[in-house]
């Protein structure tokens, strides 16, 4: 479960942590990804496992479009840039939730049978549900890919450079909007991947994103902004803390542990565990 949080947080880490842009619609991206997965299954009988790349591609386009239509202008604001980002993406989140209610109705949906749904695998006597296991593996792969992508490719360097000084990168011929649009697309694609896997074992409804989004913000901040590894570590810690809290406190209080750990960490280290900003 922690690695799944990690996967959701990976996308956010890219948008929020590396580009320093607040995206309050992140949970709604996840919701859209789950619906896309659901409809691919319902109409074309494509198993979530196969549709995951398709969903990721769809979300890539969606993320880039959101950047070009909304966030680009929000970042241009000279006054109150932070608040403009928060509230324009919050407005977007409300619109997306409204649209989901309009087109998909507020009913709870689920994918009744898929290749992995409900199956478990036994490793050394410990039974693990297969969807979560696949999700965990995908999550690790996504983080490794993201890490190399940021640190080893031209695009990754362009992304970091653009965040640090958009004026200077324009001088060396990097188009800021293109870099950030790609970054948003990638961030959304990662959420798409997470959404496809989660659609296997979670109910799908218009408000599903909200509960995961907050945990994703906490995960990114816990690890520290500007660090991909931090978000990964944050994801694992959040998962472990949640599982431990659920053992000692009633299940409805399981998030309290996560939040308390976040507060504890930032009170001791105000930049998160591995943060550079």
């Amino acid at each position: 479960m922690g690695l799944l949080y990690g996967l959701i947080a990976a996308g956010l880490a890219l948008i929020f942590g590396l580009m320093d842009v607040v995206n309050f619609a992140h949970g709604e991206f996840l919701m859209i990804a789950m619906y896309v997965t659901f409809f691919l299954f319902a109409f074309f009988a494509i198993d979530p496992l196969l549709s995951a790349p398709l969903v990721a591609a769809a979300l890539f386009v969606f993320g880039a479009v959101v950047y070009l239509l909304i966030v680009r202008f929000a970042m241009r604001a000279k006054a109150n840039a932070g608040m403009v980002q928060i509230f324009s993406t919050f407005g977007l989140a409300i619109v997306m939730r409204g649209l989901a209610q309009f087109f998909f109705t507020p009913d709870y949906r689920s994918i009744p049978q898929s290749w992995l749904g409900g199956k478990t695998v036994s490793i050394g006597g410990i039974f693990l549900p297969e969807p979560q296991l696949i999700g965990a593996m995908l999550s690790i792969a996504a983080f490794v890919a993201l890490y190399f992508f940021i640190n080893r490719t031209d695009f990754g360097r362009a992304l970091e450079a653009t965040r640090e000084d958009a004026g200077a990168v324009a001088l060396v011929g990097i188009d800021k909007n293109r870099v950030f649009a790609l970054g948003w697309g990638l961030g959304a694609a990662l959420v798409g991947l997470a959404g496809a896997i989660m659609a296997i074992f979670f109910y799908i409804y218009p408000d599903v994103g909200a509960s995961f989004a907050l945990i994703a913000y906490v995960t990114v901040a816990l690890g520290g902004f500007g660090s991909v590894f931090g978000a990964f570590a944050g994801g694992i810690i959040v998962g472990l803390v949640e599982a431990t809290t659920a053992l000692i406190l009633p299940p409805s209080l399981k998030s309290v542990g996560i939040y308390a750990v976040y507060l504890l960490v930032v009170f001791i280290r105000p930049r998160g565990l591995f943060g550079s900003m």
Partner: protein
Amino acid sequence: MDSHFAQRRRRDLIMAGCFTVLAALAPLFVKDVYVQNIMVLTLMYAALSQSWNILSGYCGQISLGHALYFGLGAYTTALLFTKFGVLPWFGMLAGGAISAVIAMALGYPCFRLRGHYFVIATIVIAEIALLLIQNWDWAGAALGIDIPVRGDSWLKFQFTRSKLPYFYFALALACVAWFVTWWLEDSKWGFWWRAVKDNPDAAESLGVVVFNSKMGAAAVSAFLVAVGGSFYAQFVSYIDPESVMGFQFSLLMALPAVLGGIGTLWGPVLGAVILIPLTELTRSFVGGSGRGVDLIVYGALIVAISLALPRGLVSVFSLRKGAAR
């Protein structure tokens, strides 16, 4: 001669007086209960947003967890009344005092954090409080508290037949919040807060005690929001954790100030006067389908205003005045 600043302040005060008189006379002409209800909500949001603006707008410490103080006010009043029979007026003061103390206790560790780390801390703290209340059986857990009706009286601050007493109280609250902001704007605190917002390090080096001024802003802000919460509990006479302490509510409280003009005296009022009636009207005209059309309209509106006017709606007015001068 008066400075330009002093002139502007006097003009603000006169304008506020005029608006208050106009608002106070409004119920003479508006008899429709539905419209009166919207007016009460508008004034309440104006007061809440004004109070939020003190900490987040003037002092620059963006809090997205102010629902915590609203909920504390609402719950303190409701619990004291239903469990111990304490009159809501005392509950209101108690709620405000408790919130102010808690705001300072939380501010002690939190004000060391900056930027996103601070914002997320405020969200997370409010969320912890929400989860605790939802699991606290004595306080009604997730179902909330029904405030029993004991007949109309100012003493118990309950009115079942008319909305007018609530209207005047909300108006008074909005006036108090506005006046406190107006008064603080020109005080030592007001200047400190703006310095802290613009550049905390420079302010510190010039002798502003940054930490204390943040604490002061948090306490004032929390107290006023909690009184608003107490009012809300009496007004709707039913509270549940999600509706008074949820994260959504923190955002809704900040919204009028942000859209109207963050860190400005008139921003929250203007934002509330435009936003709240629009919200309510879209909800009742297109929300009936239950399919979220009102959400689409409302959300699109927020996106449009925040992108078109990053300084808020007040910037439209000041631009025009600047051009005329």
